[in-house]
């Protein structure tokens, strides 16, 4: 029978499902899959503090991105702005409930839930409190992470702007810049901290404490 510690020293590649044995890494070194070269794990000292700082920055930029105007277009003196409020209004007015609800969940509710969950769980992990809540938040994150589509929204925004270039004068708002910041920060966070490592930290901090 294989013990828990032995299992903890194994890792399965998320891409090709090859079984690997973990070896201790020197600080700031990374381990890659032997078959498909994808990052398996890394030794990143002080990861909690670094990620917490990045998550706080993301929370602020996400708040700005949703609060203010993303773009304003001007067609022969007629102005229209893209804001979250305008979006709600148009969806209600045009009775586009299915598309609208999907849009609001994918662009607004899921990203906000993810960033707040990250914020709460990182703070709790730093203070070594609330093991059960941390676990529930980690499970919640695993479920909703594939459904957050801010990056796809940004590409769509660019496509929409190119479509409008010929007819309208386009002015970028504060939120547009904030959206770019949010995406860059998100890339840095996911590059530095995989969920595999968050779970490992969870085991290290709370041990066998659960339920």
């Amino acid at each position: 029978m294989i013990t828990e510690e032995e299992l903890d020293n194994l890792i399965i590649c998320k891409k090709c499902h090859t079984l690997h044995k973990r070896v201790p890494l020197p600080p700031n070194k990374k381990a890659f899959c032997s078959k498909c070269d994808i990052l398996l794990y890394q030794n990143n000292p002080n990861i909690l503090n670094k990620t917490l700082a990045l998550v706080i920055a993301t929370t602020i930029s996400l708040f700005v991105a949703f609060k203010f105007t993303i773009v304003t277009i001007d067609i022969q003196g007629m102005e229209k702005s893209l804001t979250l409020y305008a979006l709600f209004m148009v969806i209600l007015e045009q009775h586009q409930y299915i598309v609208g609800v999907m849009f609001i969940f994918l662009i607004f509710i899921f990203p906000i839930t993810i960033i707040f969950s990250m914020l709460i769980l990182l703070i709790l992990m730093k203070r070594k409190k609330g093991g059960y809540l941390v676990k529930r938040l980690l499970i919640l994150l695993a479920h909703i992470r594939p459904w957050s589509m801010v990056d796809i929204f940004f590409i769509s925004l660019l496509v929409a702007m190119v479509k409008l270039f010929d007819y309208a004068y386009i002015e970028l708002g504060v939120s547009f810049i904030a959206l770019i910041f949010t995406l860059i920060l998100d890339i840095i966070i996911t590059k530095n901290l995989s969920f595999y490592e968050l779970w490992n930290l969870y085991t290290k901090i709370y041990g066998g404490v659960d339920e």
């Binding site: 399965i12 148009v90 045009q94 586009q96 796809i152 590409i155 929409a160 190119v162 479509k163 409008l164």
Partner: protein, 200 residues
């Protein structure tokens, strides 16, 4: 039993688990890790068929309806791409073609291939199949680009004389993407590790 079948990766917390008959919950997050393989197979198939059904109205019905001073014009996905191409916006036409036509079709083909190959134990590399499944999960949400573009345009072009609405096609398309994503999520990677002769 193969070596890969003995160890499985929890899809929630990524912990390595040793599967035996009585333990079906992950040792770390206590989420279900060994659901019924037959159920997983049929769920994937059912959601895939739903997605393919939605793909038909998504292409036939207009994704974008524009009203200009009482005159209504509609655009389907392919119509929109041809229109962009004719107007000289080649990069945008290609992005939309890639995201709205190729990505969904590729996903359908990949999931169908994975289902058939697991059912009939086709002789192909398991590692390759795992990689294909990984690609399926990564490219999934990118088909939403066209729906998002339409929603953004409907908010921006909302004047008394000129208006843009998402058409029925947009709803069908959004639901199609939703169901392909659910279908990919229902697929249990353990199906790939099935050996010849294993039944599920």
């Amino acid at each position: 039993m193969s070596r890969e079948l003995e160890y499985i990766r929890c899809h929630i917390c990524e912990a390595v688990n040793y599967v035996n008959e009585k333990e079906t919950k992950c040792r770390r997050c206590h989420e279900e890790i060994a659901p019924n393989l037959r159920l997983s197979y049929h769920k994937t198939l059912a959601f895939l068929i739903t997605a393919i059904i939605f793909y038909i109205p998504a292409n036939l019905y207009p994704i974008l309806v524009s009203k200009q001073f009482g005159k209504t014009t509609t655009n389907t996905i392919m119509g929109g791409i041809i229109h962009l191409w004719d107007a000289g916006s080649y990069p945008i036409a290609l992005i939309i073609l890639l995201a709205s036509v190729f990505v969904p079709l590729l996903k359908f083909i990949l999931i169908i291939y994975l289902l058939i190959s697991t059912r009939h134990n086709l002789h192909s590399s398991k590692v390759d199949k795992h990689k294909l499944f990984y690609i399926t999960e990564i490219i999934g949400p990118w088909s939403m680009v066209d729906v998002f573009v339409v929603v953004i345009l409907s908010v921006l072009i909302h004047f008394s004389g000129v208006q843009i609405f998402p058409g029925e096609g947009a709803t069908a398309f959004g639901l199609m993407v939703f169901f392909t994503m659910i279908s990919a999520q229902s697929f249990d990677p353990r199906l790939i590790n099935q050996q010849k002769g294993d039944t599920f």
